[in-house]
C-alpha cells in the first residue's frame, strides 16, 4: 500500500514532506491549526471505494466541512481518535459536516470491516491507496487528519495524535461558517471556473 521508496525514507522524510505540504497550505499541527481563508489551498480530489464498494469522491462533499482522517487498524493513536470522530459525526452531521476515514491497511477490507464494526464507526470509511497518499504529501505517519472547509480547501492538518479539544476548537471555527455563505462562495468559485 505504501510505496517502497517511502518505506525506505522512514518517518523523518515523510514527516518533513508532510510538514512542507502542510506549510504550503498554510496549515500546521499546532493547537490553533485553522488558517485564514486566504492561506488555504484546494484539497486534492480523489475517488476511493467505501466498504460497500461504492466509489466516493472528495468532491461529493463540497459544501460540507470534512475531517479527512488517514488511519490504520494497527495504529494505536488512530484507535484512540475513532470514538471522538464517531461523536463528531453524530453531533455535527446536520450542520454540514462529515468524517471521512481513509484506511491505509495493507490487508484491506478483510481486516478493516470487522474493526470498524467492532468500534461502531458511524462515518464513511474508504480504502486508501498510494495515489491518494501521494496527493496528500505521503501520509506515512498515522494518524494524519486534514480539515477541509466548505469550499473544499485544506484549512488545517494534524500529524499524529492531538487532543480532542484541538479538533473541537477547529471544528467549531469551521462549522461557524454560514452554510449559505459557503454555498455562495462555491457558486462564485464555479462561476470563476466557468469564466476561464
Amino acid at each position: 500500500m505504501f510505496p517502497a521508496f517511502r518505506r525506505a525514507l522512514g518517518l523523518h522524510a515523510a514527516a518533513l514532506s508532510l510538514m512542507l505540504w502542510a506549510c504550503s497550505t498554510g496549515s500546521s499541527s499546532a493547537p490553533n491549526s485553522v488558517k485564514p481563508e486566504a492561506q488555504r489551498r484546494r484539497a486534492p480530489d480523489f475517488a476511493l471505494r467505501d466498504a460497500d464498494g461504492k466509489l466516493v469522491r472528495l468532491s461529493d462533499y463540497r459544501g460540507k466541512v470534512v475531517l479527512l482522517n488517514f488511519w490504520a487498524t494497527w495504529c494505536g493513536p488512530c484507535k484512540l481518535e475513532i470514538p471522538w470522530f464517531i461523536e463528531f459525526e453524530r453531533q455535527h452531521k446536520d450542520k454540514g459536516f462529515a468524517v471521512l476515514g481513509v484506511s491505509m491497511d495493507e490487508d484491506g477490507w478483510e481486516v478493516v470491516k470487522p474493526f470498524i464494526r467492532r468500534l461502531g464507526v458511524n462515518y464513511r470509511v474508504l480504502m486508501g491507496d498510494d495515489e491518494v497518499a501521494r496527493l496528500y504529501g505521503g501520509v506515512d505517519a498515522l494518524p494524519t487528519s486534514f480539515l477541509i472547509d466548505r469550499q473544499g480547501r485544506v484549512a488545517g492538518v494534524h500529524v499524529g495524535l492531538v487532543s480532542r479539544r484541538s479538533y473541537e476548537r477547529d471544528l467549531a471555527q469551521l462549522l461557524g461558517d454560514s452554510p449559505d455563505g459557503a454555498r455562495r462562495a462555491v457558486d462564485s468559485d464555479d462561476a470563476v471556473t466557468r469564466a476561464r
Partner: protein
C-alpha cells in the same frame, strides 16, 4: 527507525548447532510491539529465516517492557532502545558442505507516543560455512 547489525559469520559441522545473535537498535522515542503484543490489533515483531539449509530450533526474544502510552488503556508489550534476538539453529547431517548466506526477515511496526509508521520488513543476511 530500526536497524540491525549484520550477525557474525558462523561455522558449524554437519549435525552441529550454533546460536546467532541479532543486535537491533531503535531510534530514541520509538518503540516496536514485542513478539507478544498486548492487543490483538497490534503487529508483532517477528524474525523468520528461510527454511534451508538449516533447521531453526528456536528464535528467542528478550523480555519485553510493559509501557503505558497515552493512546492505550493498558500497558503495551514493547521493545525500545537496543536489544538482541537469538536464533538457535542446526545443520542437518545431510546439509551441503560449504559457505553460504542465510536470509532472514525482521518484520516490525514502530510507533512513538503520538504516531505510528507502517509495518516494515528488514532483510537480514547471515554468512555461514558448513563443514
Amino acid at each position: 527507525m530500526l536497524s540491525a547489525a549484520p550477525p557474525g559469520r558462523i561455522t558449524l559441522a554437519r549435525g552441529g548447532q550454533a546460536e546467532v545473535k541479532l543486535d537491533v537498535r531503535l531510534r530514541p522515542g520509538y518503540h516496536v510491539n514485542s513478539h507478544t503484543p498486548a492487543e490483538d490489533y497490534l503487529i508483532p515483531l517477528r524474525l523468520t529465516w528461510e527454511p534451508k539449509p538449516f533447521q531453526i530450533l528456536e528464535v528467542s526474544y528478550p523480555r519485553p517492557a510493559l509501557e503505558k502510552y497515552p493512546f492505550a488503556d493498558k500497558p503495551l508489550s514493547v521493545f525500545s532502545g537496543a536489544f538482541a534476538i537469538l536464533t538457535r539453529l542446526k545443520a542437518p547431517e545431510n546439509a551441503p558442505r560449504g559457505p553460504g548466506v542465510l536470509l532472514g526477515k525482521l518484520r516490525y511496526q514502530a510507533c512513538t507516543e503520538k504516531l505510528c509508521l507502517p509495518p516494515k520488513t528488514l532483510e537480514v543476511r547471515l554468512s555461514y560455512e558448513i563443514r
